[in-house]
Amino acid sequence: MTQAGYEATRSAIEAVWRIESPRLIAGLARITGDVGAAEELAQDALVIALEQWPADGVPDVPGAWLMATARHRAVDLVRRRAVYQRKLQEIARDAESRAEYYGEPDVDAMDDQIGDDLLRLIFLACHPVLSPEARAALTLRLLCGLTAAEIARAFLVPEPTVAQRITRAKRTLAARQIRFEMPPRGELPGRLASVLEVIYLVFNEGYAATAGADWMRPSLCAEAMRLGRILAGLMRWEAEVHGLVALMELQASRTGARTGPAGEPVLLTDQDRGRWDRLLIRHGLRALDQARSLGGPPGPYEVQAEIAACHAQAHSVRTTDWERIAALYVVLGYLRPSPVVELNRAVAVGMAHGPARGLEIADRLAGQPALASYPHLPAVRGDLLARLGRAAEAREAFVLAAGLTANEREKALFQARADACQAPASGPA
């Protein structure tokens, strides 16, 4: 085979791997009861494919081939372990508790249970015994098929750090005897919150990256959205899953409009709404409808999605339903009390009921220690003060904001706003 032919086959194998690896790992984890072993077995199958396919050609149904190969080895492994276990003659209680893992594996059930297995894998990777960073790394590794190097690039940390995080995470899961199973009903809300937190963390990590940054970072948004959609398919009855999907789709719809030609950030109010992605907006609104239709009091993701939907459906800043947004921030404040939420409410109230009312709320936040070095507080105040014609104070606020932000582009933006503030007495009307 030519070098080019080999490369093409290799790329094809990688594509199949990306598509199949989560299902593969999930199915294998159920057979072996051990996510670390499952990942190794899946990797082994990949290695065999990389050896054989360039020579023999890509099989007609490559996913099934990978699954059959890995499954064969998994069954082998489990049988060997069973023999080992018997030889160890463990105490009866322990043996009993492990019987379901080390008994003869129910291989035929594997195909029917792929959905359930994926769900178990998601809950395992996002288990609260792991730190949020470890959960994110393990999830991207097991459910998105990213390599440690890719995860490292995406999170701007050294590769060995990520590799270590993943290894430790797997070791922790094994040491704490975390089983490959759905959380018990009573624990489900907390466990689900942990999963949603990880997905949104991955999304925000990508969303925070601006154009010009490494491509790997923005792609985290796509990974998170894919995970969210998968989860929404597996847990159709959970409103907050749809709420999170809606929130991500609606936020991502603005990606193209968030940065200007030179990569500078463009605030929501200044964005060219023609550049918003209508397809993602449609997806987001549909997911939000799903969340609403499930009834019950809305959770924090659904409320945030409602806010994003207000923006997505408005043709301009002026025609935005700011009153509804302000009310939604009150609801969000009940669900997730935070000074940042209150600051956003100040912005919305400032738009709905005038800058003076907004400034009242923002000024009440001035003493909050949590916001002491938060650049957006003075930036919001600067904007409200400028609209009130209090140019000198506005300028001072923007200068403060520029001094607080670590983001160069944001600094330039705030500085420009400061420079634009002129005292009405001396400047032109």
Partner: protein, 119 residues
């Protein structure tokens, strides 16, 4: 990366078997479930379509059927990480036709959608 897939083909005289529709729905479900299929729909035959053309400065409107030997059958919009992934999904789709509708010939054209944000 977004890819638009356009399926075109020539149908044999036999009607499409119901198993094909079932398999297509199943595969579409899998792709949706995997979070990669953003949009898809089948298209009516071009006999029901119209072409607006510009040639020699003249705008003409002509009702179908179009003269091309192959009919556009459906479109799908995928969000995947590489072109190879798009190729793999398209291949699965085409293989269903091979396995379930003997005599069918056709092709899926895979075109990348321009995206200024690059993701």
């Amino acid at each position: 990366m977004r890819y638009l897939m356009l399926l075109s083909g020539t149908n044999p005289a036999t009607p499409p078997p119901p198993e094909l529709f079932e398999a297509i729905m199943k595969l579409g479900g899998e792709a949706t479930q995997a979070g990669v299929l953003l949009d898809t729909a089948g298209l009516l035959p071009s006999a029901a379509g119209t072409r607006v053309a510009l040639e020699g400065g003249q705008v003409t409107v002509t009702d179908g059927p179009f003269t091309e030997s192959k009919e556009l059958i459906s479109y799908a919009l995928y969000e995947v990480r590489s072109k190879e992934e798009a190729v793999e999904w398209a291949a699965r789709f085409v293989k269903l036709h091979r396995d379930l509708w003997p005599g069918w010939t056709g092709a899926t054209d895979i075109l990348q959608v321009m995206d200024p944000s690059g993701s």
